[in-house]
Symmetry: C2
Subunit: 128 residues, 2 copies
């Protein structure tokens, strides 16, 4: 698989909430960096964070609005959408992924505005 194919398979697994399949595409020492918070290293931390992000959503759609590839790096602008109750939480993200020669993701860094996430999560959780 090319780096772009690896990232596409990773995101599809996340959308289908197949967390183990997503994590299998991550290097054991992956650096998973949500920029507003502390970076996480390794598959266990990645698994727990994905469970946390996906847990409250009945559906998940991460729409790729633009994608760029530079060597082993894949960059995307995404709209990460989570269905909570009857409504969709929408979070614009800029994602940077590095993929090694074995097709494993060694770095995943997402830039986003935490308050944009928390404000919607709080409103939708109150509603449901």
């Amino acid at each position: 698989m090319t780096p772009a194919e690896t990232v596409a398979a990773f995101i599809t697994a996340i959308e289908e909430k197949r967390i183990a399949d997503a994590v299998a595409l991550a290097h054991p020492d992956i650096s998973y960096e949500n920029v507003p918070i502390k970076p996480i290293t390794g598959r266990d931390g990645l698994t727990k964070t994905l469970e946390m992000f996906l847990g409250s959503a009945s559906e998940v759609e991460w729409r790729i609005d633009a994608q760029h590839v530079d060597g082993n790096r894949v960059i995307n602008e995404r709209m990460d959408r989570f269905k909570i109750g009857d409504s969709w939480l929408e979070l614009p993200c800029a994602g940077f992924f590095d993929v090694d020669e074995d097709g494993l993701i060694t770095l995943w860094r997402d830039y986003f505005d935490m308050d944009t996430y928390q404000r919607q999560m709080s409103a939708l959780s109150d509603q449901s």
Copy 2:
């Protein structure tokens, strides 16, 4: 100038607080999008926003940690640093710039965490 050179000149002008020189590299109808807040269209809005961001800083350094070019698009991971009083405010950003054939920036979209900015700005303003 190549798109990368245009973006480099734009960022250097910002660091040197030569706002008019920066804005001259922007298309008159530039879409300037700080993702956590509402997009701005045009040079006047760009000027006002840059004045606001740069106004309280005695020094400005926007460190480019990684840069990628895909056709007329330039992408960078930056650490935007603003010296406020005796301390530096540091804001990690992912920037996406589109540059047209005349070497003018038609789109500037920055992903960052607003709270990371506001929390530091508030602490440093109290201090000074």
